[in-house]
Assembly symmetry: none
Homo-oligomer: 214 residues x 4
DNA sequence: CATGAATGAGCATTCATTCAT
DNA sequence: AATGAATGAATGCTCATTCAT
């Protein structure tokens, strides 16, 4: 029931994009790019240090001049992804004060992160568990903060009777879950723009929350 | 924004459960069980044939008396998962004729598959891409059939003006996506029963579809 | 300088032929046939017990009802080959009393063994060394007897001044060596009959021995 | 009828010798040496990468820093062997213009290659078929060129009525075959020098060709 | 006689990582 | 910063052989 047509690849997107400003320059940045492409396609355990190095055009030993281990490369990607999500959600939340507008902004931001950086989102969501606890901890804190933002908005909307939903936490899981999945099917082969998807999903979120319909 | 509290594990569930009647007997079935546990926790590439064999209590070479390769073990799991989903959705669809009731039944079935067999669902959804095309093909056909069931119900509901949504396909991706994610957080550590989750999610789906609210 | 055109296969012939009367009946005989084909093509170490069993159409365990080990199958082939050679050479020697006629008969028999049973000859010559000493011993005795037959004929011819050659042993190695190589290139793809090859090689042997030319 | 006394070993020689100047330096060269010894004794399939590495004194993984596969090690040996043969035959041919002298030089060179590098000759002749076609192709071309050199000399000798033989191609197979076999029995345990063997075999070749005897 | 399941040892190869240069 | 060589451990898988049925 993952809707757009089923190909065996893990995601539909191809372009390897990282948020601006956060990618380190030079070889270190190229390592990050190529690792992202491979981790997204084949997963952390399915990707070898040699495969990354080969795509970068360096010797695999050289990678260790830039990162202390294969896991640290993933950790940096996972952290970049979570930081970008957290920053966007924080900014979205600040644009409005009313829960309905905040929920809209939050979901739009969440979805657009997944349309703008689908590879990063897939890696951030699906490969985090491959990291040892001490490397995933910073990302997990950000993830928790993001989760609380959504729950807070839903709670305030409920308290103000702007929202009406059977269960707050379940609504949050539903809204979060549908957004995360976008990274897997969004890509150049389907007809929607990022704004269309984000807008529709924000609309769905309002409906899930039981917001008064305009 | 994956809501219940963040631990580094890939899913919250622990019990290894497979649908009744489809698990082969004897050693072959035990291999399937232990492989499911490991594939769910560490992924296909993160799981070694020796790790599976060791949990089963057999020599790793013995595994090859039952499956021709590591990938065939995954292929059987993935196929079982898709078959169970397809069977449940088909049965759900048959219980009613009206789109709203059908959508409710469909989403309840979809969600309950993810609460009843969370490990299988995670493997089915996340590890399918590790298979060579010829091994994933049967599952992909079933997946496509499931996708069409959901789209058909939404389409008929729209045509009968029972549903009202901005875009049919996007609604389907949202409904499907939120259900798939359930496998990751549902487990013994959270307070909801399978019926509560299924009921709430069916409710959310109706709202996403813009169904007339009672 | 192995003359007919160079293909990567080990020998040109294809038909799997064993001497009449010596092949055991039933499954045991079929094992011998298929083992011969595989040992000739890929060598003892390059052939697995399962490959033999698969060609025979039996389970690999069944092979052990007929032979105590993989090496014993080879040992039987090697012994059959040496027995056939020894029998033919003995018969050839008995047909005449004069050294020149004896040498002719001996070389014709030697060459024809290699044209009649090229696979067996290749296995007999090239795979014997893969056997443990106790399994190869009976064949080695026969091989030694064959060697002595040739040397004796050459010696008697020399003593009677029918032959005239720089060195007896070296002549024997040359005559033996050229005959052994026949198994590698003789086959249906080249224009000579077994009689033509045998006749020419016998002629060459007489010349090597420095026999009076008719 | 392989004449010098029968031991179960594949060849009588022990010293591992490779042509000067062509062996790569350092670890790569040592790998080549030890692989030659083992391939000659036990064949390609009977030799493990670990056995080679152990004789070299390196970890088996280190071998892959020098050769991409076990087959590539054999391919290099087989190519060295064929190159050396081709070079020696070419040089031999150039020393004289008359067919009889050319045949003598050719056979002396052929035989001496087998006395000087018996292990290499055995591997070159007997293990080539274990290579995939693309790895054996360069050697097969050289082998073909060598074959044509011998045939050309025999043909010119026949045309000039210096040689007189029943069949050109069969004479070539005989001359080539007897030379190849030398690698198997020549060694420290027998009384002939390389020059004695080469001289006698050249003499035999002239007789096979039916050359006018001085 | 034949089998399917089982095994311990071994296979070629790849792994992430280290280190001297 | 970058490399080629090196390594110990591990990879998926095949080996010849055994054994209960």
């Amino acid at each position: 029931m993952d809707v757009p047509a089923g190909e065996p690849r893990r995601l539909a997107a191809v372009a390897v994009v990282l948020p601006e400003g956060v990618t380190p320059p030079g070889t270190r940045g190229r390592i990050l790019h190529e690792a992202l492409a491979l981790y997204a396609e084949s997963g952390f355990h399915g990707t070898s240090i040699r495969a990354i190095a080969s795509r970068v055009g360096i010797n695999s030993a050289t990678l260790y001049s830039h990162y202390p281990s294969k896991a640290h490369v993933l950790a940096e990607l996972v952290l970049i992804g979570h930081r970008e999500l957290h920053a966007r959600l924080t900014a979205a939340l600040a644009t409005h004060a009313a829960p309905a507008e905040q929920l809209t902004a939050l979901v739009r931001a969440h979805v657009q992160l997944h349309t703008d950086f689908p590879l990063l989102a897939v890696v951030t969501d699906s490969e985090l568990h491959a990291l040892p606890a001490e490397l995933s901890a910073p990302a997990l804190e950000l993830r928790d903060a993001c989760r609380r933002m959504l729950l807070d908005v839903l709670r305030r909307g409920s308290e103000q009777s702007v929202f009406r939903m059977p269960d707050l936490v379940l609504a949050a899981t539903a809204i979060g879950g549908m957004g995360m999945r976008v990274a897997h099917w969004f890509g150049p082969d389907q007809p929607y723009t990022r704004e269309q998807v984000a807008g529709s999903y924000a609309h769905f979120a309002l409906r899930i929350a039981g917001a008064e319909q305009p």
